[in-house]
């Protein structure tokens, strides 16, 4: 499901080696930037919820184009960075008022 602004979004990342085996024990950080410089990024550490699967809970501050960046260190000390364009994030629909 595409992310929406000003509401909780769960970002899940799966890390695998070249043979497809999950890579656990990495220290990953999740950053979300707007494509326009000067806007506050959303940053959080990713938590390993199962071997090779890491999760972050973020709250995007504004509608618009975003870039998600996952970076960190693998157990063997190598640094990794992976980015993904997330265009046209829209504001979350307000909940319907109670009848």
């Amino acid at each position: 499901m595409p992310p929406a602004a000003v509401t909780t979004t769960i970002v899940r990342v799966t890390l695998a080696d070249s043979r497809g085996a999950p890579v656990g024990g990495a220290k990953l950080r999740f950053d979300a930037h707007m494509t326009h410089p000067g806007m506050a990024p959303v940053t959080t550490d990713a938590i390993e919820i199962s071997p090779g699967t890491y999760q972050s809970t973020v709250r995007l501050s504004m509608a618009g184009d975003w870039v998600f960046v996952v970076s960190g260190k693998l157990p063997d000390g190598h640094r990794i960075t992976k980015e993904m364009q997330v265009p046209a994030v829209r504001a979350a629909e307000a909940p319907a008022p109670p009848r």
Partner: protein
């Protein structure tokens, strides 16, 4: 007060290599910006090219203009490169007489502002780096072909912006003692200082922008290069403090410019400067995206360029023509039947809009600077990692930002209203000069124009910002 006589600051600014040091610093920054733009991560908020230019350079440029003067032209690194290249290649031509007005420069200013929006330059580090390189190349080609500072005076769009804004700067270059100038027979401030042993060799350059200090008024066309300060053998050139904007009321002929009343191009540049401030801020807001969407539907337009061009045409041609035309026509009716034609009145009062325009530029660029001033730290840390492969300056502190937008909003409001007040005062002063007996009736239409523009600006800066991707999605 003469800034050049102040302790510490005076000797520093008069130091022969003062400008060179400033230029060298900016050249190093430019090299870093271009290198990171070309080879660094193509994520705008993580790249020096986009962060340093969109956040810091733009903001510091407008603040520098009102706090000091045209200091970014002083420190322009392009002129450092050009001066180096001119040691190898001497220009042979003089700038064509037909182009010795601001039309080319102001057209390029509009092209730059339009392209910035159309191609989303702020989120393209490679494009930003390419533009910087292209700008250097253009300056080099023009100034290696044409003598003096042809690029600065007639072409550079940033320079034209700076010239107009610097009419509100608190300082200007002026003769310290006019009697000394009257007795001078060498005119080194414009011709350059010659070697006593080789009279054909210029050892200190004179003004390359054709501003003769004794006849110079104000900051128009002055790049604050300080060449005249260095060249004057009588140490008679000062950097004096003054009343910002007063030069716009001066009707006398001025060196290198002529009479302001005869310079329609400068009046149009003032109008573009003012209304571009509004459209430049407006296109970042949510209502702008909604307007784009409606225009696309109503006019069956599928081209984003056509829609943006339409919005720019409305903002820079239709709206100014309507507002200034109707104000000038009304002022003519209310003042004096012998008053000049409507176009002439509009051109004279157009200069009064500059303070408002500068207020909006300050509010807009100041917002980005203040809310993102610390972003240069993590971006520089990240650039060092990109360069050396390990966090020599520490892990990037991506949460370093700046002031919360809510705190900046009152500052924006204050700057906008201060600019509008300045425009109102200037309009009154122009009216008093043009119509001494009908000052108040003649100024009323202009006060209404300033008030309408101020309301529009306050509405724009109060809008929620919306980033790209919403207009066509």
């Amino acid at each position: 007060m003469d800034v050049l006589r102040l302790p510490v600051v005076g000797p520093l600014v008069r130091w022969r290599y003062f400008r060179r040091v400033l230029q060298a610093v900016l050249l190093v920054v430019t090299v870093a910006v271009v290198a990171h733009g070309l080879f660094g991560p193509q994520i705008a908020p993580r790249n020096l090219a986009t962060v340093a230019t969109s956040i810091h350079w733009r903001g510091l440029l407008v603040i520098g203009l009102v706090a000091i003067g045209n200091i970014f032209c002083t420190a322009c690194p392009m002129m450092l490169v050009r001066d180096g290249a001119r040691r190898l290649v001497s220009p042979r031509f003089t700038w064509p007489r037909a182009l010795r007005r601001k039309w080319l420069g102001l057209t390029l200013l509009v092209v730059v502002l339009f392209s910035y929006e159309l191609f989303d330059i702020w989120d393209r580090p490679v494009a930003t780096a390419a533009i910087v390189l292209g700008y250097f190349a253009l300056a080099l080609v023009i100034d290696l072909l044409f003598k003096r500072a042809s690029f600065c005076k007639y072409v550079c769009p940033i320079g034209q912006f700076n010239f107009i804004a610097s009419t509100l700067a608190p300082t200007e270059i002026a003769p310290r003692n006019r009697q000394v100038c009257q007795q001078c027979r060498t005119y080194d401030c414009i011709k350059g200082q010659r070697s006593p042993t080789e009279p054909l060799r210029v050892v200190r350059r004179g003004c390359e922008l054709a501003l003769f200090v004794p006849g110079k008024t104000g900051n128009l066309d002055c790049t604050l290069c300080l060449d005249c300060v260095q060249a004057c053998p009588h140490d008679n050139v000062a950097l004096v403090t003054r009343v910002a904007g007063a030069e716009l009321l001066d009707t006398n002929r001025r060196s290198g410019i002529g009479r302001l009343a005869d310079r329609l191009d400068i009046a149009v540049l003032a109008v573009i400067f003012t209304f571009a401030a509004l459209i430049n801020a407006f296109v970042m807001t949510r209502p702008a995206f909604e307007l784009e969407r409606r225009l696309a539907i109503t006019l069956h337009l599928t081209s984003g360029a056509a829609i943006l061009a339409l919005m720019f045409a409305c903002a820079l041609i239709v709206l100014p023509a309507m507002l200034l035309g109707s104000a000038a026509a009304t002022a003519r009716l209310l003042s004096d039947r012998r008053a000049p034609d409507t176009g002439t009145i509009a051109a004279r009062f157009a200069l009064a809009l500059i303070p408002f325009g500068l207020g909006v530029w300050l509010a807009h660029y100041g917002f980005h600077l203040l809310t993102g001033i610390l972003t240069i730290v993590p971006v520089a840390q990240s650039a060092v990692i990109d360069l050396v492969g390990w966090p020599a300056w520490g892990e990037p502190a991506w949460t370093w930002m700046g002031m919360p937008p809510g705190l900046v909003y009152p500052i924006q409001l204050g700057l906008t209203l201060l600019g509008a007040s300045g425009s109102a005062a200037l309009a009154y002063a122009i009216s008093a000069r043009e119509y001494p007996r009908r000052t108040v009736p003649a100024v009323i239409p202009w006060l209404i124009v300033v008030a309408l523009l101020a309301v529009l600006a306050v509405w724009i800066i109060g809008q929620p910002m919306a980033m790209r991707g919403l207009g066509t999605a």
